[in-house]
Structures are given as structure tokens and as C-alpha cells.
Amino acid sequence: MKKLALAALAATAVLATPAAAEIKIGSTLAVTGPASFLGDPEKKTLEMLVKETNANGGVNGEKIELVVYDDGADPNKARTFATRLLEEDEVVAVIGGTSTGATMAMVPLFEQAEVPFISLAGAVAIIDPVKEWVFKTPHTDRMACQKIFEHMKGEGITKIGMISGTGGFGQSMRQQCLDVVGDYGIEVVADETYGPKDSDMTPQLTNIKNTDGIQAVVNPGFGQGPAIVTRNYRQVGLDVPLYQSHGVASKSFIELAGDAANGVRLPAAALLVADKLPDDDPQKPVVTAYKTAYEDATGEPVSTFGGHAYDAYHMLIDAIERAGSADPAAIRDELEKTSGFMGTAGLVTMSPEDHLGLDLTAFRMLEIKDGDWTLIEE
């Protein structure tokens, strides 16, 4: 009883400062650390959007308050911050978990606390099997593999090499690719890896080059790895097509890889080619608006990663609006009913069986030409 009173006292002390009419949204992102180039634009996007919402009078007449923690992509930190968001900040919903590891570490907590959670991480394991309180916005790694293999099949490619990063993203996507590759009549004849901090991949690429019959190479991975792989790829004189993953879908990849980036193919969201989309493309207004807003607000080029946060935030705000309340359970129910939402990743229609709501059409196949993204005609 005494403890209860003390706890209540502490709780009122915390709540005493802000006005009562506020909706608290939490977030824990990899703002620093190895995945900071994902987490940093995510954070900036969320902050920009919250400002925008509040300037327009908030949601249902209530202002939004955003609490962001930096987990540095460390799952254990993420888990502690998730507890903090739930217990101390008492948020009604959480966006983020930049990395798959951080996301998976937090999932049980949100399931237990019954607070809706929208992850910004890639792996298919986050929403398959479906978890009641967990949603996600980015395309899955499995979809990236499928999109790539679909394109290869169209090109008549049947024998490929793979070089994968051993970080979480690379390992997970490699596994997904190996799982689905058979469906497309394609065979993986060389399977190499590299560490997340490696600075030279010519030995692995030399081995791939010396494997008979290689017609294309896939590189699952993110960070500096794919840029170095791309440069080394040209260095050792590999001339078959190189497919990167959606993990490199930011302008900095082209800058880092330089001329070597030309000819690289990758599946990515429409955001990257916002200005090149035909005017009748239904996604065009959404992606152009976000691109302009983000670039004006931060002075940095837009990336698809910030786009994941954009989608998550808008779906969440829409759900709160539809629910007419900030009750976590009501928000969850409305999130699941998201239908026909046009985001930067594509058209989202969720259901109790699908907490992602995207299909393969949401992915565009791009090729880098003259240092810029171009759409490959389907």
C-alpha cells in the first residue's frame, strides 16, 4: 500500500508538467551505431512530421508528443528502452526498432503490454507468423529476393553467385533468397560472405568470378559493405549483372561506389525515383511531397529508410483519428483495418492475417545509370 502511494506520487510528479491533452508516441531507433544511416533519417522524419501535425492542430484536437531513444541497433538497449517507453513514458503506440534484432527483442514486451508497435526493420520474421500487436512498414527481405529472381528469370538467368554480408540484414536475406531461389528455376553456384567491417572483398569476388557459368551476382547487405563489393566487383573485372538489395537504396550508396555503381540493379521503393515516375502513377504525389518536405527540413537527400518512418507515422495517425481515441487497443484495431493507404513503400492494405499489407508490385526494379536511379521498364 505504501509502495503504491509512493508510485502514484512519482507518477503524478512526472505527469505534472505537460498539459493533459497530449498523445504520447514512443520510438527507439538506431540513431547512432552501425545502422545510423537508417535510424538517423527515421528520427528526423518523425520529428518533422510531429511538428507538422501539431502545427495543424494535432489529432482529434490533441497534440502529439514524441519520445525518441537511441538504441544504437543494440537489441538489449532497445529492450530496456522499450520497457522505459511502456512503464515510464506510458506511450500509446511505438514506432521503430530500426534493426531486425532490436525489433525482435522488443516484440514480446509490446505483445505483453498490449501496445501497438510498428517496426521499421526488414526481416520477414517480424510479421510472419502474425503477432497481434506488431506491424511493419518496409518490404521484407523475402520480397526483395522474389523481386530480384523474378527479374532474373525474365532475363533468362539460371546460374548465379551470392556474396552476403554477415550482419543481421545480410544473413537473414541470404537465407530467404536460398529458400525461394528454387521457385524461379535459378541455381546458386557460388555462395560467399564478408564481415560487416571488412574493407576488401576481392578474394571472395575472385572466387565467384572463377566459378563456371555465373550469369549474375546478388549482394544482400547494407552499410559500407555493398559499396566496397561494388567497387571490388568492377576491379576484378566481373562483367555479369550485379543485383544489390533494397539495403543500398540511398543516394550515399551511389556516391560511395562512384562510377562502379553504374549498371547495378536493385529492387526499391518508388520514393527513390519520385521525379521519374509517370504523372499518372498514383504514388507520385505522396513520394514527391515527402521528398520535398524532408529535403527542405533537413537539407539532406531523402532515403527510403526515412520513408518507412513516414509510412508508419501516417498509418498510426490515421488509425488514432479513425479510432477517435488514444486507447492502445482501439489504435491497434484501426491499424489492422488500414486499407488503401498510399505510402512511400506502396499501397498498404492490412488484414488480421497480414500486418505488412504490401505486395510485390510495391517494389520497383531500378538500375543505376550515370550516377542516378532509373526505372527498368517491365
Binding site: K3, L6, A7, A10, A11, V14, T32, Y69, D70, D74, P75, N76, K77, R79, T80, T83, R84, L86, E87, E88, S99, T100, G101, M104, A105, P108, A123, T166, G167, G168, Q171, S172, Q175
Partner: protein, 319 residues
């Protein structure tokens, strides 16, 4: 104060702190952070034995922490080992490995020993990262867990899971501290401290130097392993970062910052470095700078660590 008095005093201070801390807690988040403090403190107590008593450095103890953690994760997931039994399995495994690698490694001195232990830790972390079919790879794996709430219910008490873990981890930490304190005054403890002061002198005085070092290494490995197992069971999720080089460094920093020569020092160091990052998040980008500055400042101004230096200062002041 006599030595046994010192021992009792340390234990009483710890028990009082653990019992009193919940009075200022306002939610399970605080219980969670405190539990992490206790778990880190267990690993650090082992390092007090190794660094403080025996004067040997290890930059690879997170490797044993990782072995303990994955013993629970893999044991329960792949072999159906009951969650509590895995602590013992991890401890035996870590002890055995420490015994095997300890012999050649402990012949090395100073920075050579540092690199050898570092290499050992990196090898463990690498195996955990690469063997994804067993360990889930870098994204980690879920750990089937125990819920100590049930034991409290048996005693007629109803508490939250986080609270139950707080008392469980706190108790294990006290037991760990008690064993380490007793060790200090035992024959082998005295041998270790002789070794710390001068290895050659100890050898001349007839101390089995190799045996004593190996003993300290094995004991500290078991402490780290138990801490790792508890962490996995408590956190319900584990990644190879647990065995990472940076975690090894973190454990050593906790030990030395608080004062490697004293059990209480290690525990204070663990508390400081577990709570500080939580408190420093308000500084955002300046968080790591602040943490680094604190580390440097403590080592420069309180060279022997926080607790021994403060205790010294207090003792010098006339009562």
C-alpha cells in the same frame, strides 16, 4: 576494522541497499535496470577475483558470459533442457573451457595476456554470429524463460515478474559476493594476492603460481557464465553482442572503475556503468562523450577506483 568485520560490513551494506532500493522505484522499468545492475555485478565480481586478487587482465570474459547465455538459449530451444538446469550446464562448460585455454594463456603477461584473452572472446562471438542454425545469427534468438513469480506465489506473495527477478538476481549477487569475500581470506586467496603483488616473490615463497592463476581464471569464468545465463533468462532474448569484445571491455571497465581490489568496488562500478547510460540519454549526441570523460576522470583522479579511493579518503579523516 578487522578483515572479518570488513566482510560482514560489505554484506550488510549490500543487503540493506537491495532491500531499500525499491522504496524509490516508480515502475518495473526501475526494477529492470536494477536487475541488470545485479547481473552485471555478478560477472564483475568474478573479474574482481581475476583482476583484483590475482592481478591478471582478461579482455575476453564476455566470451564466457556468451557461453552461459547461449547455454540457456540453445539448451532450452534445441534440446529441451529445463531453464534452470542450463545455468549449471553453462557454468560447467565455461569452467571446463577456462581450464583448457587457461593453461597456455595464463603463461602470458600484460598486453600479451590481454590480446590472447581478447582473441578467445572474439572467437566465441564469431562462432555465435556465424552458426545461425543454432544461434539465430546476429539478429539473436528468443530464450524460453522461467518466471520466478511462481516461487513468490508459493510463499503466498503476489509480485510482478520484474520484481521477482529483482529479488532473484539480487540474491544471487549477494551469494556471489559472499563467496568472493570468503575466497579472499582463504589460503588460495592469500596466494592470489601474493601473486598480485609480485609473481616472482610469490613463486619463491612456494606459492603454486600457475595453479593459483588458473583457479582464479576458472572461478571468474564461472561467475561470467552464471551472469550470462541469468541475463538470457531474464531478457528472454539474446544476441552475439553478449560475447562481443565491447562487452568484455565494458565488464573490465566496471571492475576497474569501481575498484578492482574490492568486491563492493566492482558492484558499485557495475551499478554506475549500467545506470549512467540510461541517465545520460537526455544528453543525446553528447552521451558517449560524457561517458568517456567520466571514465578518464575517475581513472586519473581516483586511480584505484571509486570505492577504495573514497574509503581511503574517509579513513584518513579523523573520526
Amino acid at each position: 576494522m578487522t578483515r572479518p568485520g570488513m566482510k560482514t560490513a560489505t554484506l550488510i551494506v549490500l543487503i540493506v541497499l537491495i532491500a531499500a532500493a525499491p522504496l524509490v522505484f516508480s515502475g518495473t522499468y526501475h526494477y529492470r535496470v536494477a536487475t541488470l545492475v545485479f547481473i552485471n555485478a555478478i560477472a564483475v565480481t568474478g573479474l574482481v577475483v581475476l583482476i583484483g586478487y590475482a592481478g591478471q587482465v582478461s579482455l575476453g570474459h564476455a566470451g564466457f558470459f556468451g557461453i552461459g547465455a547461449y547455454a540457456c538459449a540453445i539448451g532450452a530451444t534445441h534440446f529441451g533442457v529445463p531453464p534452470l538446469a542450463c545455468i549449471a550446464i553453462g557454468a560447467v562448460l565455461s569452467g571446463a573451457i577456462a581450464y583448457a585455454v587457461g593453461r597456455p594463456i595464463l603463461r602470458l603477461k600484460g598486453y600479451y595476456l590481454a590480446v590472447a584473452t581478447l582473441g578467445f572472446g572474439i572467437l566465441v562471438a564469431m562462432a555465435l554470429t556465424n552458426e545461425a542454425q543454432w544461434t539465430g545469427g546476429p539478429d539473436g534468438m528468443i530464450v524460453p524463460s522461467i518466471n520466478p513469480r511462481g516461487w513468490f506465489a508459493l510463499a503466498g506473495l503476489k509480485v510482478k515478474t520484474a520484481v521477482a527477478w529483482y529479488w532473484l538476481a539480487g540474491t544471487v549477487m549477494i551469494v556471489g559476493a559472499w563467496i568472493a569475500l570468503n575466497l579472499k581470506d582463504s589460503t588460495s586467496g592469500r596466494a592470489l594476492r601474493a601473486l598480485h603483488d609480485s609473481e616472482i616473490a610469490a613463486r619463491v615463497a612456494g606459492v603454486d603460481v600457475t595453479g593459483a592463476k588458473l583457479q582464479a581464471f576458472v572461478i571468474s569464468a564461472v561467475y561470467a557464465s552464471v551472469a550470462g545465463s541469468l541475463f538470457a533468462l531474464f531478457n528472454q532474448f539474446i544476441t552475439p553482442d553478449a560475447a562481443d569484445f565491447l562487452h568484455s571491455i565494458e565488464l573490465v571497465t566496471m571492475t576497474v572503475l569501481g575498484g578492482a581490489g574490492m568486491v563492493l568496488g566492482g558492484i558499485v562500478g557495475a551499478a554506475l556503468l549500467t545506470i549512467l547510460p540510461q541517465a545520460l540519454t537526455v544528453f543525446q549526441d553528447y552521451e558517449s562523450v560524457a561517458l568517456g570523460v567520466i571514465m578518464i576522470a575517475v581513472m586519473i583522479f581516483l586511480g584505484r577506483g571509486l570505492v577504495p579511493s573514497l574509503a581511503n579518503a574517509l579513513r584518513r579523516r579523523p573520526a
